[in-house]
Point group: C2
Chain length 184, copies 2
């Protein structure tokens, strides 16, 4: 997730930009201010009949492990549109997004995951370039090697709410998920 | 929202970074890749008895207009913790966040607003550096000069759901809010 993947020696210095209230990394050359904003990951628990779509990762981190179709939200799309794009890119799946199932904040790495409940429009799926294989799994027969805790959370939250039409999105069951100054 | 606020001449060129699938702006000097990820704005409809907390903006955009306490989420905090921090920074208000009231995606500017329902812990409020004044308003006596459409949406969605304990967060009533590739 580095914002400096080129390996070039960066020319950053640390100071408080005008109008700001905390120190930021600023590039001497391009003036870029590294606000280190949290990044949004969008994805889905996408269902065909009684089965869930999973993708076996072809890339690090957690290459070879199974995950829900999800990835970084891009500008110019809504979170739900991003979740549909990721399902297409990773599993060549077309789906209809329904409600927001979970908002999983992982404060220490600055990620906010927004996972939607979704329905596959067909069972025609195929691995995209970031997937080794894709599959539709019954919840009683899930692969054991799941990539991330949030994959487990989202499937559990799907099962908890599958018969509900109006519910609050679930949160990450993590002690550190809240973060922020104590008492605020 | 420029990421190059210094006015320096940037040394960007446009190319597709390795492992990516779309063109990005890259700085020749620091290697910074401008992914232009959407940014998360966190805020609250914060209530004291039958009144809502509003802040009159001391900064652009929309200086002098009234808004909900809200701002860019920082790394190291959850969205709800960020909403509490913003209420403290803008109105010296302490509050308890409840459910996620709205997720307002404004695709064309790359913002995702996450607005929480919240309860003020006391009516002790005071303007922070980004507010000209702060106030608690009955919904029948709101100021007319509201800063942003999402201020209106969030208060409307608060009133729609005020008696509910479990509900899906509302969306922006905008035709362009979805964005993303058509058909996906």
């Amino acid at each position: 997730m580095s914002r400096n993947p080129s390996g070039l020696d960066p020319s950053f210095h640390i100071h408080i930009p005008e109008g700001d209230d905390r120190e930021r990394r600023v590039c001497d050359h391009c003036g870029f201010v590294d606000y280190e904003n949290p990044r949004i990951i969008v994805g889905s628990v996408a269902i065909w009949e009684d089965r869930v779509l999973l993708c076996r990762r072809a890339i690090e981190p957690r290459r070879g492990y199974w995950t829900l179709p999800a990835g970084f939200m891009e500008k110019g799309e809504s979170p739900a549109a991003g979740a549909r794009r990721e399902a297409w890119e990773e599993a060549r799946a077309r789906l209809e997004t329904d409600q927001l199932l979970g908002v999983y904040s992982v404060a220490h790495i600055g990620h906010v995951q927004m996972i939607y409940r979704a329905r596959l429009l067909s069972d025609a799926i195929a691995p995209g370039p970031e997937s080794q294989e894709v599959g539709l799994f019954r919840f009683a027969e899930l692969p054991r090697d799941l990539a991330f805790p949030s994959v487990t959370w989202a499937m559990r939250h799907y099962l908890e709410t599958r018969d509900q039409t109006d519910f609050a999105p679930r949160s990450a069951p993590l002690a550190d998920a809240e973060g922020g100054p104590p008492g605020l």
